[in-house]
Symmetry: C2
Subunit: 343 residues, 2 copies
DNA sequence: GTGGGCGTTCAAAGCGCTTTGGCTTGCTTC
DNA sequence: GAAGCAAGCCAAAGCGCTTTGAACGCCCAC
């Protein structure tokens, strides 16, 4: 059943039927009722391919997926997607993932725009002066960034959490507990979130006249193994930290393993606070010693990004509003007062 | 630059230009060269929206994403996606994720077909007599299943790993090491893979005159917490197992935690073998005691599914071939001979 | 010399929508 | 009673591609 058939059946022109269904004002309310009713009865659904050829609108939002044998997709992605999908579902909005060479995403973005393949995109894991943001800005494709890209002289829409504030507050708490040697096991320092977190730690330390020596900071991909390695190095070196901040639960698994291997205990020898993106399959309260965390649901962020993208597409949101969410600091058993040096 | 402009510029009809670019035989090779050359020089790319309206082909493969606040997307998904995307990239094939109410995916599949939104789909986490498989079969939408759905009287294309064989072999090895009381911590038993694994364990046991009592089997969502709970129950009950097979690395984290808490050791008190889908961020060799595993890269499976889907779309593959991959059994420190009962 | 066949090209008809511009009709306004 | 206007509807022209059916020129065979 297509528009032509429907309009013939109703003894109306395609124009009128189309307008009636799309809510245009120049159609008699009585007529509209007839049309809408008939459409529903016969299960008419406009053909999206035809509509998109005519309008250029696709009803899809895009995401450029960096791929390559050496490229690992962040496991957080799936959780974000969960929130995004859950929200988008209600709007019958599909998500198109365009795989791209991680080293050349620009080509793919340009293709999406040139072919009008999506109405909007979202960008994740942004870095400072992220080229994707600059590109999208000039291409004029609506977008929203999950995270932030510092260093531009223009504004753009984003949704981020207060990484700096979260790690500042966590650090300050550790200081108040008497810790002076605090280390940071971070994500890769190309990414904005990692930079912000480190900044938060430094700010808190310097607020108390302390510093974060470079050798007390590890910035690597957030795997269990890297967490382990960083913790070993930190704890075996001279002037081992008495507290560690860690950027992910997965890394914390490695930290906990290192601590066990070295015969140390949490929080007796080491206090530990990690960032928790709230996974259903790994919970900080279930660590051998329940883990204190800075917590922010990445799934909720996904839903919010979907909400804002949809608002942008329907003209309800415009401008370049940045939105920063506060982060919970959840105290559990993994932190305690600093051990008294010597005995 | 569209087809019309290009054809005018070449003093040819749109027909000829279109045919030249699409490799039709009835066009002079000399002409074709001219056309292809001009197209490249002017960066002409056919508009996909127009093409899909004309042909019904979309150049996209679909995946129906079950969503809902209570629905957790499997973290394996992202790894599978990684492989799929990496392969699809070379073919400029996009993936469209259609979020659906987890309880009613049928509506979404029907929409995809009615609107010709995708050329093919893949299905994951199948269950016995999975309604999606039956539906797709009748709808006639090309598809491929990652995993298997038993109980149909028709064939369909799938890619699966030999779950039964893997767990059979792992179990047999434990038996050969002298274990008699072997337990299974499995994924949810609605899913085919879990059923096959359990079957593998039972078959190996009965091959040696042993059995798997129902209270030695736990089938739940594969979270760390569920792994922990299952292990606690198993190890604290009477006739505790001396060996456990576990369906996922994440669950194994919980098992290891339970073992630690109970003051037991691996492999002294308990041998442990888990299934490893090969995540970049959590590796079995990095467990406190390196974990023996049944191993199969889910990323490789993603790439293979993409390859087969593309082959189907271009007519290179047809029929309903099932493909079953063997699974590696990798022995590491987590297994040993059964402890001698009593002392 | 005519007819058939082959190689090559083209005009035009879709695909199923949206949207422009115009045409009625009936009513108000002076 | 002419002019003006709004409401409601329509025919037709896109959107940019693919594909059908036909035409054209040329060569070969009989």
């Amino acid at each position: 059943m297509n528009l032509k058939q429907l309009s013939q059946m109703l003894q109306l022109s395609q124009t009128t039927v189309s307008r009636a269904l799309n809510g245009y004002p120049e159609v008699n309310e009585e007529t509209r009722r007839r049309v809408v009713d008939a459409a529903k009865r016969h299960g008419y659904r406009p053909n999206p391919s035809a509509r998109r050829l005519a309008t250029g609108k696709t009803g899809m939002i895009g995401y450029v997926l960096p791929t390559g044998s050496a490229v690992d997709i962040d496991p957080h992605f799936v959780e974000f997607l969960s929130g995004l999908g859950d929200y988008a579902r209600a709007h019958e909005l599909d998500l198109v993932l365009s795989p791209a060479d991680a080293e050349d995403q620009e080509t793919t973005y340009r293709r999406l725009v040139a072919n009008k393949q999506v109405d909007a995109v979202y960008v994740s894991s942004p870095r400072p002066q992220d080229s994707r943001v600059a590109l999208l800005d000039t291409l004029g494709l609506p977008f929203i960034v999950h995270g932030r890209s510092d260093g531009f002289d223009f504004d753009y829409p984003y949704l981020d959490i207060d990484n700096e504030g979260a790690f500042h507050d966590a650090t300050r708490l550790l200081i108040q507990l008497g810790h002076h040697r605090i280390a940071l096991i971070n994500g890769e320092d190309r990414e904005t979130f990692a930079i912000h977190r480190e900044r938060g730690v430094r700010r808190a330390l310097s607020g108390s006249g302390l510093v974060l020596p470079d050798h007390q900071v590890w910035s690597t991909a957030m795997t269990e193994e890297n967490g382990y390695r960083a913790a070993r190095r930190l704890l075996e070196g001279g002037a081992a930290p008495t507290a560690i901040l860690c950027s992910s639960l997965i890394m914390s698994l490695g930290v906990a393993r290192a601590v066990r291997e070295l015969g140390l205990t949490i929080p007796g020898d080491l206090s530990l606070i990690a960032h928790d993106d709230v996974f259903p399959w790994l919970k900080p309260e279930n660590f051998s010693v329940p883990l204190s965390t800075t917590r922010s649901s990445i799934r909720a962020a996904g839903a919010r990004v979907a909400e804002r993208l949809i608002a942008r597409l329907s003209g309800l949101e415009d401008g370049a509003r940045g939105e920063v969410w506060p982060v919970d600091l959840v105290v559990r058993g993994s932190i305690a007062g600093a051990p008294t040096t010597g005995l």
